[in-house]
């Protein structure tokens, strides 16, 4: 099993990443936690979009942006969510 994201440490970051489209919303059916790998790559995408160093961790520059006033529309517009067959997530290559 993948290591669950230590929610107490970065609940704010994960919520922010989901709010602005960098992470898919948590799965309401399975309640599956976001894996840390997914959070790390989402942070990288957010850092790239913001034009700051892509460290993959919620460093000061990243937290500074996360706490900055902003427009509430997502940065990553919701695309067609990957299809779901017999409970497994199928991602298009």
């Amino acid at each position: 099993r993948s290591v669950p994201t230590p929610a107490d440490e970065s609940g704010e970051v994960v919520a922010w990443l989901m709010q602005y489209g960098y992470l898919p919303p948590a799965d309401p059916i399975t309640g599956q936690l976001q894996t840390w790998e997914a959070v790390t790559s989402a942070i990288r995408v957010m850092q790239r979009f913001a034009g700051i160093p892509e460290t993959g961790i919620p460093d000061d520059a990243t937290l500074g942006l996360i706490r900055m006033p902003r427009c509430s529309l997502p940065d990553v517009l919701p695309e067609k969510l990957p299809e779901r067959k017999n409970g497994r997530l199928w991602r298009k290559r």
Partner: protein
């Protein structure tokens, strides 16, 4: 053409004249209602300066863009969070329920001309949000007004101009104002600017020029990638992206220097592929233009080409075989531009005979070799190499090429007596303005 249809259904407004209103104001605010409305006016003006869009404020309940100052959760899926954090949002034109809705967090300290570190500059955020209302998403560019993070005031609303990135993005959706206005064309346009009209030139009166939504067309040409539709003494011009540069036609003789002012109509026009000269034919004469100035020694008789003295109905220069085809009644000639001679055996009975009504008004070869045939207010498309008629034609010239989206007068199928001009001229001023109070924003 199809993409245009898709565009209007998706990312952009199909109309150009967009109404707006401020529906609700923040309860306690530093800024007066008048100031808020003026700032909204200028924030919209920023986008109208880069596009053919125009915005007008309405007092009634219905507006395309409606601005509201709202509190915490206001049931649109994007709850606010008090001071800081999320400050505003707006919905895209493609959003079926919420298109045009623009929401500002009423818990923010909205400011105007305040120090950078105090409050949230309403004008800067409004420009951003109206960018969404017109179809723009967030941008990673640090200079862009569409960057999602609030970066402080953007200076004086009277001076503010969009960054280049934002101009490019919004013009990708709506075209540029310069190409759609009757103001001077941009210096970058391939054809030089038209000369100023001589003082004795008859002034353009609206009742004089033809209505593009109800007229047939005399001639059509693709010149330097732009499409020109000629009618009487006037022409309409479409950009490379096939956007009409102006709803009002331009006077041919004012732009094509050397074309006689008295010329009632043009039979056909084409750009010669060998040297990119532009040839105009009218009755027994033809003119050769280098860019938009006539060459020395013209007009000359069309018999130079071996054509009949009476002139031609239509012509097109086909990049596919580098020949030019002339049409008159049921006959066609093929002319070899390279050798400057008519092909052996010309004229022949036109191949169009069985497929299309002859005589045609004009023909046009598109940039990738397809051929369009125009007659009356309709046009047909011929397949690239076979010149076979494509299915789904005829179609309306006015609707597909000249931006006439409303009801066409008279309807294409039922030929009726030409309606009066008043009926023809659509009312571009938009819905009746119910005025509660006027504020002079500048």
């Amino acid at each position: 053409r199809k993409s245009r249809g898709r565009r209007s259904a998706g990312l952009a407004w199909t109309k150009r004249n967009i109404s707006w209103k401020v529906k609700t104001y923040p309860q306690e605010a530093w800024l007066s209602r008048e100031t808020i409305r003026v700032l909204m006016h200028y924030a919209l003006k920023v986008w109208s300066e880069a596009t053919p869009l125009t915005f007008h404020e309405v007092g009634g309940p219905r507006a395309d863009i409606s601005v509201e100052f709202l509190h915490l959760d206001h049931q649109d899926g994007y709850p606010f969070d008090g001071p800081g954090g999320m400050v505003a949002h707006a919905f895209f034109p493609r959003d079926p329920q919420r298109a045009g809705h623009v929401h500002f967090d009423s818990d923010e300290d909205w400011t105007f001309r305040s120090p950078d570190d105090y409050g949230t500059d309403l004008f800067a955020v409004a420009v951003h949000e109206f960018g969404h209302s017109l179809g723009l998403a967030h941008s990673p560019s640090k200079r862009s007004i569409m960057r999602p993070y609030y970066q402080g005031p953007v200076g004086d609303p009277l001076q503010y101009q969009l960054q280049a990135d934002d101009c490019v993005d919004i013009q990708r959706l709506y075209g540029s104002r310069v190409l759609h206005s009757t103001e001077k064309p941009e210096s970058s346009s391939l054809l030089p600017d038209p000369p100023s009209l001589p003082h004795d030139f008859p002034a353009l009166r609206s009742e004089e020029f033809p209505d593009r939504c109800s007229s047939s067309i005399d001639a059509v040409a693709q010149i330097r990638g732009e499409t020109f539709f000629f009618k009487g003494q006037y022409f309409w011009r479409l950009t490379h992206g096939r956007h009409l540069t102006s709803l009002r036609p331009a006077l041919s003789a004012a732009f094509w220097r050397g074309l006689p002012r008295s010329l009632g109509k043009v039979d056909t026009v084409y750009e010669r592929h060998t040297d990119h000269r532009i040839l105009f034919f009218s009755g027994p004469l033809y003119w050769v233009f280098k860019d938009n100035g006539v060459e020395e020694g013209y007009p000359r008789p069309v018999t130079d080409f071996g054509l009949p003295q009476g002139g031609v109905d239509a012509a097109f220069s086909w990049p596919h075989d580098r020949k030019t085809y002339f049409f008159k009644g049921g006959l066609q000639w093929s002319y070899d531009e390279a050798t400057g001679r008519m092909d052996e055996g010309s004229p022949t009975h036109t191949a169009l005979g069985g497929q299309l009504p002859t005589p045609v008004d004009d023909m046009l070869s598109g940039s990738d070799g397809e051929v369009y045939v125009f007659k009356g207010r309709q046009y047909w498309k011929l397949e690239r190499h076979s010149l076979k008629l494509e299915i789904g034609y005829p179609r309306s010239i006015a609707r597909d090429w000249l931006d006439c989206t409303g009801e066409l007068y008279p309807p294409l199928s039922a030929p009726t007596s030409p309606p009066t001009r008043a009926k023809l001229q659509p009312d571009w001023r938009g819905p009746q303005l119910e005025v509660e109070r006027c504020v002079c924003p500048s």
